[in-house]
Symmetry: D2
Subunit: 301 residues, 4 copies
């Protein structure tokens, strides 16, 4: 039913409702809204096959934080965002606070809208070697390893394959994958963080479904953390057409104009930088429960 691609379960649900009529009830899906540290948080639960089919996504929990206040640089916006993300991540982690974790940054470091994953990995507190080598100082930390998996074009190896190879060797108790997503609505670009307990299929966003990273393939929980950084150019044009009352237009009418083009904020470099830091810090606060933002800063500086 969905013609227009989105990686956000929240948007998929809205699109379903738009096409089915607001009165219709979305089968096999529950959703709830709340505020966390002042930011709106929506939780969409896809419960069964009906929900999977309606939204085109695997069953599981999808949590969306809307961080509009971050760009407006509201008071303590960064700290509140990192703590809100940590609060959503924490229940998805193994109970044992010393169970080892692997943080994976997916995407191409050389392409700005695609490098939020590698940049978030740069902000991760890497402790695995310290816990092993300097246990007298770091024994209380959870062992955390980090990996920027690169992209097929620069490694010749699927990032899914690479992560599986490393996970098999170092045997983490959970994996957190950070990736750039595509949204359907321009107003969500660089404003939204989605946390999902379903794992991720690297490159699925660009039509190259590759080796999935999830509990089936890795044998441990895989938490996906994503930020939409682009909208397909074709998607933008359809939004506008819809707004102008021309919903009947077919995709093919959009022609080739949108081929290979993306829509992105003018200051994408700054926005990706800021969001990668929020994600890295949120991960750190979730993986090492006792720490404050200042502790993280001191560790990473």
């Amino acid at each position: 039913m969905l013609t227009w691609r989105t990686d956000l379960a929240l948007e998929a649900a809205q699109l379903w409702r738009e096409s089915a009529g607001e009165a219709a009830e979305l089968p096999g899906v529950e959703s709830a809204e709340e505020l966390r540290e002042g930011y709106p948080v929506t939780t969409v639960r896809i419960l069964d096959g009906r929900g999977e089919q309606a939204l085109g996504k695997p069953a599981g929990t999808y949590i969306t934080l809307e961080l509009d206040g971050l760009a407006r640089r509201e008071s303590d916006a960064f700290g509140r965002a990192a703590r809100a993300l940590a609060a959503e991540l924490a229940p998805l982690l193994p109970r044992d606070p010393r169970a080892p974790a692997l943080v994976v940054g997916l995407g191409n470091r050389a392409i700005t809208p695609d490098n939020i994953g590698p940049k978030a990995a740069d902000h991760t507190m890497v402790t695995r070697h310290l816990v092993e080598q300097v246990p007298e100082h770091f024994g209380a930390f959870r062992p955390v390893a980090a990996l920027a998996a690169g992209v097929l074009g620069t490694t010749g190896v699927e990032s899914g394959q690479l992560v599986r190879a490393v996970a098999e060797r170092i045997r983490p108790a959970c994996v957190l994958c950070v990736d750039a997503l595509a949204a359907r609505s321009v107003r969500r670009v660089c404003r939204t963080v989605q946390v999902a307990d379903t794992g991720i299929t690297p490159g699925s966003g660009v039509g190259n479904a590759r080796e999935a990273l999830n509990a089936q393939t890795l044998g441990v929980p895989v938490i996906a953390i994503g930020v939409p950084t682009v909208v397909d150019a074709a998607t933008l044009t359809r939004d506008v057409l819809a707004q102008a009352g021309r919903e009947e237009l077919e995709p093919h009418a959009l022609g080739e104009a949108g081929g290979g083009l993306i829509v992105t904020p003018r200051d994408i470099d700054t926005q990706v930088h800021d969001l990668a830091k929020v994600i890295g810090y949120g991960i750190n606060l979730a993986l090492h429960p006792g720490l404050t933002i200042q502790d993280v800063e001191l560790f990473l500086s």
Copy 2:
């Protein structure tokens, strides 16, 4: 008459013809087409006030090279592009091959679609100090200085002001300014180089007309070299609407969706890198007539 912004005189002329009807004659404007090293070159001459008003640009010569073959990596595409650009630049330079030149890269180095100017300056053969200090080896070169002018947000000084300050002190006989442009048609983005003998107004593209860089303000010829790297998101949507037969739609129908958004190729980093090198090499070949691409490579490596 033009509602839709473009920095390309070629596009402005096409838009005029579209709105006036193909039969109408564009007053005060001459144009001609030819092939140069296999690439189409269009020269638009705005002759007088009628042409200025019709196209919304100052009188002067605007030369457009269409480098589609470059992205397809055709045989010797880079060399032919650099030589074609050099051939168009050469007649605009002072006759004296030793008259000093200043190359200015405009734009923000930290923002990919805006950093083609600084990157082209990086590829410029800087010889001014060598001609002065090692005349026995470099006495035959034209003295060339290069300046990446930064942006107001990082310097606190208008780039126009900065260039004027430097030009007054080092007194070049001509100035070449490289900048990113905005196009109206997505198919011209990162495919087109425009050379104009009219100078440039930094930031005019984004609604901030600042101190112009032209023969009036600098007292010497100012050649502007520009590449469109983005299309306003609103412009794209209108292209699609037009294609879909909804030309009657008014801009305001596009609403706020396009605010602060740009449309750009997915691989903008690579494309800007390639084009900046073409421009730098084209400038070098034009400023130092005897050199080959290999000579330039050896000098810069």
Copy 3:
């Protein structure tokens, strides 16, 4: 009398005493020590021609902060260092808190031990355009412009010439220049910040004395802020020889081994990064007296 080059007045005075005997009194020079925010601060005042000749530096005040605690990441080491620097800079600035300032980063951005100047400029709060354009919000700030002057090899223009050109046009009431220095003692490398009210001669450290930046040439006070990031390889070897009791060795005995080589900390990238931030923040706190470190962070983020 000094055979071994140092940019630090503190070291020059120590070398003088070593060669003259500890009992000898250094003529025309006063010095004093104190603690500032826990860091040792030494002030050397060269009072007259006798002091100038003895230390090989122009008359003026040279303040040295020794920031060893910074590398050890002592508690609040960064904040204390930035505030200590600000406290030393403040008395050298014009009294009027709204008198405009120009911050200049000297050195080559592409060479790690030489890029502390450009990096410090990146951490400067640039306000000149905001004070002009948005006086209702920024009217209370001092107008500050920043310039990374590049190097002769990449611009073809002496950085001294460039700074003079810009200063003549924007007419600041004072100039602060940040540059990398050479020390004689390896233990001062990346541990020391020198503030001098005498200005600076860019490139003097590497045997290329160029256009000086000082009150004579710019017509306003010029404060030089420098950090030694390298020691000449030949200097290191002499230190060792001296330590081994072979002080009688002549420089020529060191032969060609040291030609073009520098001695630098293994983690120079990190250390320059940290020190550039200390300097940028110190400058900001001095130029905008009411601000805290947190305010600066918010402005720059």
Copy 4:
């Protein structure tokens, strides 16, 4: 017998001879010299346990190319260097030209003298995915994957472990590892490439022997390609002392002056950049025998 550390077998042999007297014969070691593309090439073969003990390195073949002409930018210096390296690498590769290879860049990308490995990997033609996915065009190429293994501090995983994990999964028929080395003589820094068929122990240079990468651990031939980019500061001082006729000085006399300090060329950034390209291109020419430098350039551009 060797007090002073070097990663170069060539230097180790010279040091042995210096300490044993020129007349003494180095047991269990053969060496030979020749010219390749105008560059001197020395092959040192450690034949047995006597040789291993004398030189402190495992038995195997160590080939040293001395590329002094490269820095002098002699005619076609780059092309000759890449072809000379390829000619030395070729006999060490599996005979089957389609046997898959893995190229590994060791070292810390953020530290200039340590990033020659990751940078050489950037210049590698990665073909593994193309051979699989587009066999009609790339079927004739050898499948090559590339990996920049990061460092323990940023990943929490030994690079040896990481490479083993990836090699186990993608099963190359040979591995080529590129790493920065330490030399004893400053005149070899950034002038020498060593090729060894013995594999490598990442981090062994800095006192952290970690998981070795060699035929034993990976099950396939491992070729190590290294460039000395630094000399320990203590080593330099000893060279000078020796030159000054004070060979009897003991290391401890050098005291703490050299702790954590390295000696490196002033223009290390440029030199590492150039050498990484020579290595990447040499690897490409060796792995894909029919190609020319121009072919490689076209592929990578």
